[in-house]
Symmetry: C2
């Protein structure tokens, strides 16, 4: 069995009995039963995911995977391709939004070069949470040829699995997904349109902020790519190979590996959502380990979450990516777990319970 | 001039020019302009509130005010009245949800006994963030007589102002509101129905979880109180005196004092919302200093926020109070300010800007 197959085979449905035990514990705490709403649901789900009645959230990590996209040539982004490499350097120098929000959440950021066009070199890279598993110098332009080979798609997913497993050794109680890659909303919309069998226009937004003409070019490029290659919606590796991206494949690997390791994985926005859709199509049980951080401005994301039956925690009109929304969602997940672990019970605090039990 | 009048007179509309400067700064940071959505709006508003282009959020405090309500006699709550005092002790022993979530947000909790029926005594109270400014041993049952005198209503508001000003001396960059008081959703619904001229049924929910019969008793009590006393919707002190509560009046004072001191104040759920409505009716400029933390399950809150034109940050089906939602909102406010203060600019990080400027 390949690493990908082995990882999928290890993913199990969480134990439902733990949900009931977690609910019992939550109802014994000094608050009206259920009054912390979605925080309580989140706490219960994390108990079920981790298999621990008192899960610990200490080691937190955001995986920010970067890669370039050949389809950028089609004028589908508001920013030039060189920005991908420039932003990777910005991540490593801790100047980006993801650095600020990850620090706020107490999470480390693991930056992974999955295939940035310009080879990023940094003197002190070894001291940083930085990895290079370059599948190639960006994908090919999928309006003309497949983005990558099927074997490179598998290689990229397995690279994600490998990165997760390496990082898990340092401690990993929860993780989040993030990315950087000029034109990667185009690849994500193509993946979403294909797997969910939707029109490109229904699942394509403005990314970093293209104008009307840019949006039309984007939709045309997606339609052209899907028409040219006819990826098989039931074969996520085929979809990745034909219209995907290295960082999207890598993130699918991260999600699969986290699910196999019973580590809750906070899904950021649209591009992370497309990676989650790949992971889910490969192995539907992954959804039990996913926490949807927020409702993105990118309209394709809502269809993905609906398909996987996940409800986003936040709705803050975010459309940045990098893992920024995942950091905010992770903060809520940690709060939920602390409620479960740190509150007094009615009994221990000598507080009277309800007059009329439900 | 009274302390209340002086405080209201000090509240100014924030400088709009600062909003533009904050936006300029945000657009210079390494992210697509506006891509952090409501976090960016929040950052701009905090700049305007504080009058500082680089506001600091270091000292954070949640004010949790407690009091009892005579109307509890009418069987309007799922919990017995003794729970108010028991929960105050739980707050002081750090076992409640507010303690856990405030710690998560890095905020101190200031517990204030504004008039709990059972006099709470604690040996080491002086070492704690605990204050007693008891206006009386709970309000009177407003279905029979006014909840308090008009002079006690003013005294309670001014006590809130006093507590804020004392606490501000220890450092206060942002604060949040919270409360505890069995039957205080009944008082809050009565205030909301009166000031917003709505039917009691439209703005009354299940509080800590009353059943259908309890909800009917609650609505009947509110209707009876409003019919009996006919509070003047334009005179918030009259409304407080006739159907309010000591902790609600105190929180209105906190909000007025925070606004006068240009300290952003995160408004928790429905009861805090009723206090905000009192403060807003006394001085509409207070709304510029408010951050609405979350959309509560208690249905009256939506009408209040709509009236004050505030959009809640979170929607997590919370209905606990204490200031729990305010803690989560405060976390987002801090994240927003960090984005403004800590990110690199396109220039400093040498990242290319957009191809086509908007």
């Amino acid at each position: 069995m390949s690493l990908l197959q082995k990882t999928c085979a290890k993913i199990a449905i969480p134990d439902a009995a733990l949900l009931a035990l977690a609910e019992e514990r939550l109802d014994s705490l000094t608050k009206p039963p259920g009054s912390l709403g979605r925080l309580e649901e989140l706490a219960k789900n994390i108990v079920a995911m981790t298999g621990k009645l008192k899960p610990r959230i200490k080691h937190k990590a955001i995986f920010t995977l970067a890669a370039d996209h050949g389809v950028a040539e089609e004028g589908v982004s508001a920013f030039p391709q060189e920005v991908t490499a420039q932003m990777v350097l910005n991540f490593l120098r801790k100047g980006a939004a993801i650095n600020v929000l990850a620090k706020h959440a107490g999470a480390r950021v693991i930056v992974v070069d999955m295939g940035v066009a310009a080879d990023v070199r940094l003197k002190n890279a070894k001291k940083l949470d930085y990895r290079k598993v370059r599948i190639g110098p960006g994908t090919r332009n999928f309006t003309r040829e497949p983005a990558m080979s099927k074997s490179d798609a598998v290689k990229a997913i397995e690279a994600g699995i490998g990165v997760f497993r390496e990082e898990q050794k340092k401690g990993m109680d929860i993780c989040g997904t993030g990315e950087m890659g000029i034109a990667n909303t185009t690849a994500s919309s193509a993946i979403t349109a294909c797997i969910l069998r939707k029109d490109a226009r229904e699942v394509t937004g403005r990314g970093t902020g293209v104008d009307e003409a840019g949006l039309d070019r984007k939709i045309a490029a997606i339609e052209k790519g899907l028409r040219l290659h006819s990826p098989d919606p039931k074969d996520p590796v085929d979809v990745l190979a034909k219209v995907g991206g290295f960082e999207i494949a890598g993130l699918a690997g991260i999600i699969l590996a986290a699910s196999a390791a019973r580590v809750p994985v906070v899904i950021d926005g649209f591009i992370s959502g497309a990676a989650a859709l790949i992971a889910y199509t490969l192995e539907p049980k992954t959804r039990h380990y996913m926490i949807a951080a927020h409702a993105s401005v990118e309209k394709g994301q809502a269809s993905i979450l609906q398909h996987m039956k996940l409800e986003p925690l936040l709705n803050l009109n975010l459309r940045l990516g990098e893992g920024t929304g995942a950091c905010l969602g992770m903060g809520l997940a940690e709060a939920a777990v602390k409620i479960l672990n740190e509150m007094a019970t009615f009994k221990s605090a000598k507080v009277s319970t309800k007059l009329h039990k439900k």
